[in-house]
Structures are given as structure tokens and as C-alpha cells.
């Protein structure tokens, strides 16, 4: 059996990749995908812990997070699509009307 610490390590790695993705990518959609990566790393951690602790709570939490993530996708894509309609661009380094 794979020890829980390995899954945990994996989830930490995935989380870090997500964070770095948000920091270095400029396409709003890719940034958003990186955020999803972070959420899923959280899910992974939950499942790992749930198994380690022999409790169901963590797995239930994952269901909720998946739902929230789906809702987030709906809202996020709508915003990004609207952004593209207005500006013909989804690159966040071209968007800074509001600053200072």
C-alpha cells in the first residue's frame, strides 16, 4: 500500500505547480487552469488524509469542492469569454486599465 505521506507529497507538488502556473502564465484561461490544479491538489490531500484517518469527512468534502470548482468554471469562463469579446485578448498582462 502506498503510504499517505506520498500522496500528501504529491498533492503539495501539484499545489506548488498550480501556484507557479498562476504566477508565470499570462493567458487568463491557463491561469485559471492552474487554479483548478490547486483546488485538485487540495482534493488529493483530503482523500489521502481521509484514508489515513479512516474517516469519511474528507471524501465528502471532495464532493463539495468538485461542485464548487464546477461552478467556478462556469463563472470564470463566462467572465473570460466576455473579456475576449470586449478586447480580443485573454492575456492578463494587457489588462491594466485599473491601477495605482
Amino acid at each position: 500500500m502506498i503510504p499517505a505521506s506520498w500522496s500528501l507529497l504529491l498533492s503539495a507538488v501539484v499545489f506548488t505547480i498550480g501556484v507557479i502556473g498562476v504566477l508565470v502564465r499570462r493567458n487568463a484561461i491557463v491561469i485559471f487552469m492552474s487554479v483548478e490544479l490547486m483546488l485538485n491538489s487540495g482534493n488529493l490531500a483530503f482523500v489521502a488524509f481521509a484514508r489515513q484517518l479512516n474517516s469519511l469527512d474528507g471524501q465528502v468534502f471532495v464532493f463539495f469542492v468538485m461542485t464548487v470548482a464546477a461552478a467556478e468554471v462556469a463563472v470564470g469562463l463566462a467572465i473570460i469569454v466576455n473579456l475576449f469579446r470586449l478586447r480580443e485578448s485573454v492575456f492578463v498582462d494587457e489588462i491594466n486599465l485599473l491601477k495605482g
Binding site: A28, A45, F46, F61, F64, V68, E72, I95, L97, L98
Partner: protein, 486 residues
């Protein structure tokens, strides 16, 4: 669970706000399809009734205490206090939106449906006793707000604001979620009560999972209350959003974030308070200072008030750092007062301009005090209150927060807080000076008077002054709420 086939009657009332708000939001979604025109008041009326019903249902059971859904949701003093606060914020926001959305051509049923959903999220946050419900409430609130911020779809700024708010908000949610996961791993539960119990059995200070988890949780909530350095979305989102939405979120989202922080602070973090004091103090100092100092040079009133709202989050953080029941009641008191004066100030901005134009620069306010005396006085009251000048409620709130902090021995924090509130008066007074001591350079700003909006502003003025002289009424309430907490 089979032992509880149905909820008890009192539980129904305790859930009244949640039921009413969800019902209202759903009803609005369907009402969209009965014929109505662009000037229809129907959606606004329905939301108003919903919010009143939500407030009333909680009022019925304001003194009962209950844990619901296996302890995931609690109905206690803090829940009651915040539910009232959120309903009040919702009502004032609906009144402010009433004509604003009509003239900016976003009078859609969905607007109000989202407003109600967001309020529902806030109520859930305030009442949740489990990190799962905290997360769900927070997301419900935020997702609706992302859309509301970008509600002027053809407006570049509005869209940009919602994009930034959304991307960073989702980013922060990622941190929050991971933090909850780690806390779960460290303690084996997501229930705040059980978590506290676990911690009292075995101290968690040495457990890195717990420390990092708690940190990420604080970061995630810190984002919502715009604590520095997690604040950077705030000015952009506030500036770009439709002004009525800015008013709503500046009061509601912040209070909801703090509601969760207060609960966490009273239970889980309260047990390890001493280790957090330096970190939270540093955050509080930065938040007050960065907010106030950056506000000094702003020419856009919306943006200026956005920075001011960051600074106010800092003052509340001072109360949170002070901790304990006193700190919590000071935070509650401050939040209620803050919500009111901030809603009022943004509310006045919703009245400025004609049609879809926005007149929110400081120079747009020039001479307004004489052309519209009522408006001028109201704005002056809000500015004085935000600046913490007596005899307004803002002053009493600051006095109480700083007093509590002093008692907790946080002298440096208080010194910096006082210095900050002195600095803040400069930019608040700049608005008053513009209204009374400057002549408009271009065409004077048109004021779009509307009965509901004016009513909301009037209510805010009255309460700001009333709580200034009658502070103990609100304070008693805040204290009893905290004492009644579980």
C-alpha cells in the same frame, strides 16, 4: 440521525434566513420569465420582502441557541448578530440599487437574484461551525460577487474588475482549501468545536501540518477582508464594479470574512493565540498603514474609499489580535458601524451622474455641498464617521477597539492605529473640502435623486449619528452576541 426525523420548530425559524434567501433567489430566477419592462420594480420588491422575511425569522428565535445539521451550522449570538447585519446591508443595497441599476441599464432580475445568493453565502459563513460550511458559504458569496462586479458587461472597467477579482479570488480559495485540508489532516476533523477539543488534548504547536494549515486558512479569509498583502484586488475591483455592488461588497463581504475570522479566532486559533499575535499584529499594522497612506493621493472617490476600506479592515484586525470575548465584541461593533458608514458613502456616489455616466472623481464633488445641502451634510457625516471624529459612531467604534487593544497590552499597535486615523482624516476631509470649498471646473455633477436611494442614505446617516450618541445600545448587543456564542 434517524432519531431526528424532522427539524424541530425552533430549528425551522433558525434556518429561516437561509430558507428565505434561497427561496427568494430561486423565485427571482423564475420570475425573470414573466413579462416585465426595463423599469420594472418587481425584482427589487421581491428581494426587499425576502430580506425582511429573513431578518424577521431570525428575530423570532433571536435568543435561542441551537446546533443544526450535526453541528455544522450553529444558531447562536454571533449568527444572529451577523444575520441581522447582512440583512440590513442587503436591504440598504437593494434600495441603493433600485434606481442605479435602471439608469445604468443593468436592471435585470438576475442582479437581485445574485445579490440574494451572495447574502445567503454571507449568512452561511457567519453561522458555520465547520470548515466545510465556511468554504461553501464563502464560495457562494464570492461566485455571486464575481458576476455582480462584472455586471456591466459592455463596460471595460467592470469586466476587468471582475476578471481580477475572480482570478485572485479563485487563487485565494485554493490556498484556503489547502489550508482546510491540512487542518483536517492534523486534527482529523473539520468541525471547529471538535478541532478545539482535539487541540486541548494534544497541543498542535509543533505539528507543521497544523501551523501551515492555520496559516493558509487565515490567508484565505484575509483575502476576503482585504488584509495586506492580500489586498491588491480591492481597489481595482471596487473601482470597476457598479457602484451599488461596490457598496454591497465593501460592507457585506468584509463583514462575512471577519465573521468567519471571529469564529475561528474564538475557537481554534484562540487556543494558540500567543503564537499568532506577532504575525497578525504585523498584518494589522501593514493593513492600516498601506490602506491609509495609499488613499492619500487618490483622485477617484471610489478608489479612495476602497483603500479606506482596507485601512478599516486593519482596525478590525487590531480587535481580532486583541482576541478573547472583548476583542470579538469590539470587532462586531466596529463592523456594524463600518458597514453602515461605508454603505452610506458609496450610496451617495450611486446618486451622482446622469444615465450611465459615472461622476466619482473628487473634482466631480466640487460645490455639491451648496447645490445639494442634504447630500453635502450626509457625505460630511460619513466622512467624519470614517475618519473617527466625534460625535459619530465611527469615533466610538475606534475608541472601543483601541481601548480593548490597550487592555490587551498592544500599545505599539494602538499608537500606529491612532497615527493612522489621524492621517486618514486628510483624505476624508478632502472630500468635504471639495464639496464646500471648491467650485466645479466643468459642468456641475448632476444628482439623480431617487426615493429609495435617498431613503437608504438617510437611514445610514441617522444610524451613524444615532449609534454615535447611543453607542451603548449597539455595544450591548455586540457583547451579548459574543457571550451567547458557543
Amino acid at each position: 440521525m434517524s432519531g431526528v426525523p424532522f427539524l424541530l420548530p425552533v430549528d425551522w425559524w433558525a434556518l429561516g434566513a437561509v430558507i428565505a434567501l434561497s427561496g427568494g433567489a430561486m423565485a427571482l430566477l423564475l420570475l425573470e420569465f414573466l413579462p416585465h419592462g426595463p423599469e420594472s420594480n418587481r425584482a427589487a420588491l421581491v428581494s426587499l420582502v425576502t430580506l425582511l422575511a429573513a431578518g424577521a425569522s431570525v428575530f423570532v428565535v433571536r435568543d435561542s441557541r441551537r446546533a443544526l445539521f450535526d453541528g455544522m451550522f450553529v444558531h447562536d449570538g454571533i449568527t444572529v448578530f451577523f444575520t441581522f447585519l447582512f440583512c440590513a446591508i442587503g436591504i440598504l443595497s437593494v434600495l441603493l440599487s433600485w434606481d442605479y441599476v435602471k439608469r445604468t441599464r443593468i436592471n435585470r432580475t438576475e442582479y437581485y437574484a445574485l445579490l440574494l445568493s451572495s447574502t445567503l453565502g454571507m449568512v452561511i459563513m457567519a453561522g458555520s461551525n465547520d470548515l466545510i460550511t465556511v468554504f461553501l458559504g464563502l464560495e457562494l458569496m464570492s461566485l455571486a460577487l464575481y458576476v455582480l462586479v462584472g455586471f456591466r458587461r459592455s463596460h471595460l472597467e467592470s469586466n476587468e474588475a471582475s476578471l481580477k477579482y475572480f482570478l485572485l479570488g479563485a487563487f485565494a480559495s485554493g490556498f484556503l482549501l489547502y489550508g482546510i485540508a491540512l487542518l483536517y489532516g492534523a486534527t482529523g476533523t473539520t468541525n471547529l468545536q471538535k478541532m478545539t477539543a482535539v487541540m486541548s488534548d494534544s497541543p498542535m504547536l509543533e505539528n507543521p501540518l497544523f501551523v501551515v494549515g492555520a496559516l493558509l486558512l487565515v490567508v484565505g479569509l484575509g483575502f476576503k477582508v482585504s488584509a495586506v498583502p492580500f489586498h491588491m484586488w480591492t481597489p481595482d475591483a471596487y473601482e470597476g464594479a457598479p457602484t451599488s455592488v461596490t457598496a454591497f461588497m465593501s460592507a457585506g463581504a468584509k463583514a462575512a470574512g471577519f465573521a468567519a475570522l471571529v469564529r475561528v479566532g474564538l475557537s481554534t486559533l484562540g487556543a494558540v493565540r500567543t503564537d499568532w499575535v506577532p504575525v497578525l499584529s504585523a498584518i494589522a499594522i501593514l493593513t492600516m498603514t498601506v490602506g491609509n497612506v495609499t488613499a492619500l493621493l487618490q483622485n477617484n472617490v471610489k478608489r479612495m474609499l476602497a483603500y479606506s476600506s482596507i485601512a478599516h479592515a486593519g482596525y478590525v484586525l487590531v480587535a481580532i489580535v486583541a482576541g478573547g470575548r472583548d476583542g470579538a465584541s469590539a470587532a462586531l461593533f466596529y463592523l456594524a458601524v463600518y458597514s453602515l458608514m461605508n454603505l452610506g458613502a458609496f450610496g451617495i456616489l450611486t446618486l451622482l451622474g446622469r444615465g450611465t455616466e459615472e461622476r466619482v472623481l473628487v473634482s466631480d464633488l466640487a460645490g455639491l455641498g451648496f447645490r445639494h445641502p442634504g447630500l453635502g451634510i450626509a457625505m460630511t457625516v460619513f466622512m467624519l464617521a470614517l475618519g473617527g471624529i466625534p460625535p459619530t459612531a465611527g469615533f466610538m467604534a475606534k475608541v472601543y477597539v483601541f481601548g480593548v487593544a490597550l487592555k490587551a497590552g498592544l500599545v505599539p499597535l494602538v499608537i500606529i492605529g491612532v497615527l493612522n486615523s489621524v492621517v486618514s482624516v486628510f483624505y476624508y476631509l478632502r472630500i468635504t473640502v471639495a464639496m464646500y470649498m471648491e467650485e466645479p471646473q466643468a459642468e456641475p455633477t448632476h444628482v439623480s435623486w431617487a426615493v429609495p436611494g435617498a431613503l437608504a442614505v438617510l437611514a445610514a446617516v441617522a444610524l451613524t449619528l444615532w449609534w454615535g450618541v447611543q453607542a451603548h445600545a449597539l455595544l450591548d448587543q455586540a457583547q451579548r452576541s459574543v457571550l451567547g456564542g458557543m
